[in-house]
Each structure stands twice: as structure tokens, then as C-alpha cells.
């Protein structure tokens, strides 16, 4: 066995474990989904949105509900490990701690992406426009990838505090703002049917965000979990 294969299998094991926990308990994705729908309904009444929503508003609403719902999943993914001191067990395992980070990012990403995929038809139905566009799905992959890689890092950070998971939104939302701007702007262009050249730079921006936040996670995850 070479070290790289070991590393990948550690990542895969964490991801598989999280997926199994989710499949058996079904406590993450459904909660996030219901919560994101509630956000959509709240905004609908608070802002008196019309059924034929403009592309800009639909894109913004989609990302705000996703961003709010993700925090639930992110908090859960780390608080789950605090129960019964499961994290301590994981930390004792002879694997690089960044593998834990990668596994957690992948599972968080899968859950939020799943929520996003369910939201697309719901939005298409509610706001009478076709949201099923391959480019929009790609933006979701890039945007949620950057958002969850930053979010996993900050969730690990906020779980160390006395207030536990209360702190995560306060830490995450301002830092994730550029990612959200880029995601909303590119989604808006896609929904308005603009050519790729119009939003290409936003997509590159999201890609850069992915690289930056994943690098930050790799560098600091171990430092955060230090005892």
C-alpha cells in the first residue's frame, strides 16, 4: 500500500461513515431541506414576491436559502463527532488529520448539493421558469464546494467555543460573502440566458475560492483540533 492510497481510503471511510449515518438516521438532509423551503416561504411573504420572479431575485433566493440551510448541516457534521467523543477516536487513528477534513467537506458538500438539486424543481414550479440548466448545476457544484470547504473549517472552529454551534453563522456569513456574490451573479446570468462570456469570470472566481478555502482547511484543520 502506498501512502496516497491510504490517505484516499481514509477520506473515503469518513465520507462513507457520514453517508451511512445520514442514510440510517435521515436527520440532516430532510431538516436542511425543510428549513430551506421555510426560508423561501418567509422571503416570499416578507418581500411580497410575484410568481414570475425576475432572474436576479430567483438566483438570490436560491442561494440565500442554500446558505442558511447549509449551516444546519455543517454544525451537525461536527457536533455529531463531539457526542460520545467520536472525534477523539478519529483523531487517535493513525491518519493525517487533513483526511478527516477532506472527508467531512465531501459529506457536507454531498448533503447541501442534494438539497440544492431538490430546490431546483421546486423553484421552477414556484417561480415559473426553468431552473434545470447544466451550467446552473455546475455553478452549484463550484459555489457549494467553496462554501462547504470554508464552512467545515469554521464549524470545527466554532465547536471549540463555549457557545458551541451558535457562533458558526456569525463567522461564516461575512467570510463567505464573496462566494455568495459570485454564485448569485453567475446564476443570475445563467437564468437570464446570457452567454458564458458574461459570467465566465465569476465562475473562475468560484474556482479560486474552492482552491483557497481547501488550502486553508488543509493547513489549519490540524491546528484547530489540537488539544
Amino acid at each position: 500500500m502506498n501512502p496516497f492510497r491510504d490517505y484516499l481510503s481514509a477520506v473515503w471511510n469518513i465520507l462513507r461513515k457520514d453517508l451511512q449515518v445520514e442514510w440510517r438516521g435521515r436527520q440532516g438532509v430532510p431538516v436542511m431541506l425543510v428549513f430551506s423551503l421555510l426560508v423561501v416561504f418567509l422571503f416570499n411573504f416578507a418581500l411580497q414576491l410575484s410568481p414570475d420572479l425576475q432572474a436576479g431575485l430567483a438566483a438570490g433566493l436560491l442561494w440565500v436559502s442554500l446558505a442558511f440551510a447549509s449551516t444546519l448541516g455543517l454544525n451537525r457534521s461536527v457536533s455529531l463527532e463531539q457526542e460520545n467523543k467520536a472525534m477523539d477516536g478519529m483523531l487517535m487513528a493513525p491518519v493525517d488529520r487533513s483526511a478527516i477534513y477532506f472527508g467531512k467537506v465531501l459529506s457536507n458538500f454531498s448533503f447541501t448539493f442534494l438539497v440544492g438539486l431538490v430546490l431546483l424543481p421546486v423553484f421552477s414550479l414556484f417561480y415559473q421558469q426553468n431552473m434545470f440548466k447544466p451550467m446552473l448545476v455546475l455553478v452549484m457544484v463550484l459555489g457549494l464546494g467553496a462554501y462547504t470547504s470554508l464552512g467545515t473549517l469554521l464549524a470545527a472552529l466554532s465547536i471549540q467555543t463555549r457557545t458551541r454551534d451558535v457562533l458558526l453563522p456569525v463567522l461564516l456569513y461575512p467570510l463567505a460573502l464573496p462566494i455568495l456574490i459570485a454564485a448569485v451573479e453567475s446564476s443570475r446570468s445563467i437564468l437570464a440566458g446570457q452567454p458564458i462570456a458574461d459570467y465566465q469570470s465569476w465562475m473562475t472566481f468560484l474556482l479560486a475560492g474552492n482552491i483557497l478555502f481547501t488550502a486553508a482547511g488543509l493547513m489549519f484543520f490540524e491546528t484547530i483540533l489540537e488539544e
Binding site: Q160, V170, L171, P174, L175, A182, F205, A216, F220, E226
Partner: protein
């Protein structure tokens, strides 16, 4: 308590002379801008404060990095102090910008990206203090604070890049090549006042951060944390 260093006393005196000196220079020796009138003079301190704020957040991130590799408390004090002083300068930049915008843009607050991101930066670094206050040991405060300071500073370029993509009505003061029509040209006297203000605010920043770090050390000694 160690004795106050001579250099710090010198800095104190320099700041006491130079800050009013720069003010006099701006008020009486710079020409009145031909369109905006006297309020344009606020710009010299506005930009200098913004610069000092950015610089101190950068210092905080670098000091955080040095703390993580050396684990010497003094670097944490420097990081913490820079962020506190940076928040003050950021507040000055926002408030003076608002007062300038009132007659020029005819509104106190514009959702201009640069203005908004400066405000977001203030929120990011306010969260830094919330994070610290909800941690129990000085060691975890320093360690997690350092990680947060570095990650936050890493998002600042992202935010600035997102401004460039977003259209902005903020005047571009230092533009590469052809600038927008909202930029204005500075006469030699204006340039002199501009650079003097930048220099004076940088000195003031160093002076304040130095005092604040000494306070942090004193407080640590008082709590019996040892040095």
C-alpha cells in the same frame, strides 16, 4: 511592568505633533476641489484610515502565522492589538466616507461594493472578538484567533476582486492606466497632503498597536498567566 521604551515615547510625541500638523496642512494648504468643494478634503484622512485599517488586518494575519509557528504569546498580543486598532480605523473610514457621500452622492449610504465590503470587514473582525471571548483558555484563544485572523485576511483579496467585477460608483483613486470618469486628478499639493496623511496614519497605527500590545501583556501578567 517593564519601562516604557524610548522609541515608543518618541512615537507618541511624533504623533501628537504630526496628526494636527497633517490636519493643518490639509485645511489650509490644499486647494479646494473644483466640483465637490471643501468636503473633498475629508478624502485625505478617509483613504489614510482605510489604508491603516487594511495594513493592520494584514499585520494581524502575519502575526497570527508567526504565533502558530513559534507559540510565543507576544505574537498573539500583536495580532489581537492590530485587529482592535484596525477596527477603529475601519470605523473612521466608513464614517468619513458616509459624510463625504452625503453631499456628493446625495445619500448617507450606498450599497456600493467597496463601502459594503468595508462594512463586512468590520463585521468579520468584530466576530473575531466574539470568538475570543467564548473561548476559555488563553492558549485556545491565541491559537484559534490566529487561524481566524489568517483565514479572514485571505478572503480580503477575494472581496476586493469581487468589487472589480461588480460595477462600482466609488471613485478610483489609484487606478492602473485609464480610470473611470469618477476619478479626479490631484494637483501636486493635493498629492503631498495625500502622502503626508498616509505616512502620519501609518505612524499612528504603529503607535496605537504598540500601546495596545503592552496593555495585552500587562493584562496577561495580571491574570497570572506568566510571560
Amino acid at each position: 511592568m517593564t519601562k516604557k521604551p524610548k522609541l515608543l515615547s518618541l512615537l507618541d510625541i511624533l504623533c501628537l505633533i504630526l496628526v494636527p500638523g497633517a490636519l493643518v496642512l490639509i485645511l489650509f494648504f490644499t486647494p479646494i476641489e473644483r466640483v465637490m468643494g471643501p468636503v473633498q478634503k475629508v478624502f485625505y484622512f478617509h483613504v489614510s484610515a482605510a489604508w491603516a485599517g487594511m495594513l493592520s488586518f494584514l499585520i494581524a494575519a502575519v502575526a497570527g502565522g508567526v504565533y502558530l509557528s513559534t507559540r510565543k504569546q507576544k505574537w498573539d498580543w500583536l495580532s489581537l492589538s492590530s485587529i482592535e486598532v484596525g477596527l477603529v480605523f475601519g470605523l473612521i473610514a466608513i464614517l468619513s466616507g458616509m459624510i463625504w457621500a452625503q453631499p456628493i452622492w446625495n445619500t448617507w449610504w450606498v450599497w456600493d461594493p467597496r463601502l459594503t465590503t468595508t462594512a463586512i470587514m468590520e463585521l468579520i473582525y468584530l466576530a473575531y472578538f466574539i470568538l475570543r471571548s467564548s473561548l476559555n483558555t488563553p492558549e485556545s484563544r491565541a491559537r484559534l484567533g490566529a487561524v481566524y485572523a489568517i483565514v479572514s485576511a485571505a478572503t480580503v483579496p477575494l472581496t476586493f476582486f469581487s468589487i472589480r467585477l461588480f460595477r462600482t460608483i466609488h471613485p478610483v483613486v489609484i487606478a492602473a492606466g485609464g480610470s473611470g470618469e469618477s476619478a479626479f486628478n490631484m494637483t501636486p499639493r493635493m498629492l503631498l497632503a495625500f502622502f503626508v496623511s498616509l505616512f502620519v496614519f501609518t505612524l499612528l497605527l504603529i503607535d496605537l498597536v504598540w500601546h495596545r500590545s503592552r496593555l495585552a501583556r500587562l493584562q496577561a501578567v495580571n491574570r497570572g498567566e506568566g510571560v
